[in-house]
């Protein structure tokens, strides 16, 4: 066997299993669901199926889908935005202002909640937000006559819960990005006459953009399709497209509709990426 053949064999052997796995679990299922989305009867029903665009058409015809989708996308943006607002300064503080053992310890503490269950984290918010929960009691100890503080089953509650769940992602990616910025770059900028804010705006922030973007993607994508947090924290108030899709698969057993809506959701995500890609490429973010 020539070295080149041996090399090709090695490459196949090393990457083959991983990609075979991805084929079976991601690529083939997506194709299958694509096929399912253009059927007119659910596979669960023993009737022959026919090709139809009706499921996709339903998205535009039924009056509630568009506002529902809009809410979901908005929820994604708000969550990502607040995660950035809260998380970026935290990452900056950790990367640039804290040194030594404390830095490791704090980093660990921030990442630790990842290791608890997501459900558990969301559930714990119900303890805090509900009537009789922590915030309610706190407010009443300070202002005894105040009205009951019941934040549960409201739109803000959903966003709070989502931000709490996904915040560590943003802190993590921004931290890695910021920490990679050599201090000497900032020193060089200062020696050239830039004040602190300018150094940040023109040197640190642009260089940390990859971290912000990857954090944003890691947050926006799951959130936009979420149904668990909205249901637990929002009840009927926080209805999302994700919840509707989930119902198609569990309650109404209308799989083709669910499949079509799933792909519509995916298309929306890809459209948003497509819009952002030129902006990000120009700034040299894509790694």
């Amino acid at each position: 066997m020539s070295p080149r053949q041996r090399q090709i064999g090695a490459i196949f052997g090393l990457t083959g299993p991983a990609y075979a796995w991805l084929a079976v679990t991601i690529f083939l299922p997506l194709s299958a669901m694509l096929y399912c989305s253009v059927l007119d009867t659910s596979p669960l029903v023993p009737r022959p199926s026919h090709f139809t665009w009706a499921n996709y058409a339903a998205f535009f015809q039924k009056p509630f889908y568009l506002p529902l989708t809009w809410w979901s996308v908005l929820m994604g943006f708000w969550t990502t935005f607040f995660c950035f607002l809260v998380g970026y300064p935290a990452a900056y503080a950790l990367a640039k202002r804290i040194k030594g053992r404390w830095r490791e310890a704090l980093f660990l503490l921030i990442v630790l909640p990842f290791w608890s269950n997501a459900l558990v984290r969301v559930f714990s918010w119900t303890m805090v937000l509900r009537q009789g929960g922590l915030i309610d009691r706190l407010v009443h100890t300070i202002f005894p006559g105040a009205p009951t503080f019941d934040l549960l089953f409201t739109y803000p509650a959903v966003v709070i819960g989502l931000v709490h769940s996904y915040l560590p992602y943003m802190i993590l990616t921004c931290y890695v990005s910021l920490q990679a910025i050599d201090d000497s770059l900032m020193e060089a900028a200062r020696s050239l006459g830039a004040e602190s804010w300018t150094v940040f705006r023109r040197v640190v922030f642009p260089l940390s953009l990859p971290g912000i973007v990857s954090g944003g993607i890691l947050i926006f994508v799951p959130v936009i399709g979420s149904f668990m947090e909205p249901r637990i924290l929002g009840g009927t108030k926080g209805a999302t497209l994700g919840m509707n899709i989930e119902e198609q698969f569990t309650v109404t057993a209308n799989w083709p509709l669910g499949a079509a809506l799933s792909f519509t959701l995916l298309a929306i995500v890809l459209v948003i990426f497509a819009i952002l890609y030129p902006v990000l490429k120009r700034r040299g973010v894509w790694s």
Binding site: Q7, A10, T15, A18, Y19, W21, L22, V24, T25, I26, F27, P29, L30, A32, M33, P43, P89, A90, Y92, L94, I98, G100, R103, L106, F107, L108, L109, I110, V111, L112, P113, F114, W115, S116, N117, A118, L119, V120, F123, W125, V128, L134, L167, Y175, V176, Q179, I217, V221, P222, G225, G242, I245, F249, A259, S262, F263, L265, L266, V269, F273
Partner: protein, 268 residues
């Protein structure tokens, strides 16, 4: 100038403390409630272990927890092995199609879990019965978890490999080591920290995963997140607090123990 830096550092510390407060207050509240005797979370706080005892008798929750752990361990082993191999191939060989293959790692990260989960359900429903398998089940969930973990493993190990120049492996070859020997005696020890980090990531990804597990779990067999979800939908049972507290305590301990051996946060 010194005071300005000190103020800045002070502000940073305060801010981080606030962020940590935000992250942990709900968790502590829930842990506190786990030890509170009231089933309706009423104060005053009365310490009681009743919910932990109830938990011991709650077979569903315990079985779900065990399933989650087993899945997470299996997921970690498989994803770490497959992902490390792929990362090695990307880093050590250049070949046409490498770029494309790396791009193919993006879908699991950039496609909402809802879409992936439902797609898997459809696909398995159509194909598994002819293989003698049921479409839903722990095996399906495992398939999904590994798929989600793979990109992260490849990225984390890949990062470690970039720091590790090829010339070290070449040197081993010139000294007479076969590729296998080179891997075990030189490459593996050097990339070990990266692999451990990736393994921890994979474990967390699986243990934490709700959406995929939700769609692929058959009646009667669940993972912990799914079980907690159904319990919440049906009505509060304070055992949830108890098991949640246990989970957090255990994961914190594991994390702290591993952190002692491997440095995170970029300090080296």
């Amino acid at each position: 100038m010194r005071t300005r830096t000190n103020i800045a550092t002070g502000l940073a510390q305060v801010y981080l403390a606030l962020v940590l407060l935000f992250l942990y207050v709900p968790i502590f509240t829930m842990a506190a409630m786990a030890f509170n005797s009231s089933p309706l979370y009423e104060l005053p706080f009365q310490f009681d272990l009743v919910w932990f005892k109830e938990l011991a008798g709650n077979d569903r929750l315990i079985r779900a927890g065990t399933n989650s752990v087993i899945l997470a361990v299996a997921n970690t082993v498989i994803a770490t092995a497959l992902g490390t191999a792929a990362a090695l191939a990307f880093s050590r060989y250049s070949f046409r199609g490498r770029r494309v293959m790396q791009l193919l790692l993006l879908p699991p990260i950039t496609i909402p879990w809802l879409v992936i989960g439902t797609a898997m359900l459809v696909f398995f429903y159509w194909t598994f019965p002819s293989l003698g398998l049921s479409p839903r089940g722990l095996h399906s969930i495992l398939l999904g978890h590994v798929a989600l973990s793979l990109p992260y493993v490849i990225i984390v190990v890949g990062a470690r490999l970039t720091d590790f120049p090829k010339s070290v492996e070449e040197a081993a070859a010139t000294l007479g080591a076969t590729p296998w020997q080179t891997f075990w005696r030189v490459s593996a020890p050097i990339i070990a920290p990266g692999v451990v980090a990736a393994a921890l990531f994979a474990f967390a990804t699986s243990f934490d995963q709700f959406v995929i597990s939700y769609f692929l779990a058959p009646p009667g067999v669940t993972t912990l997140p799914v079980e907690i979800y159904t319990s919440i939908r049906k009505g509060f049972t304070p055992e949830i607090n108890a098991i949640s507290t246990i989970i957090i305590a255990v994961s914190m301990s594991i994390m702290l123990i591993t952190a002692r051996f491997y440095k995170f946060g970029g300090e080296r």
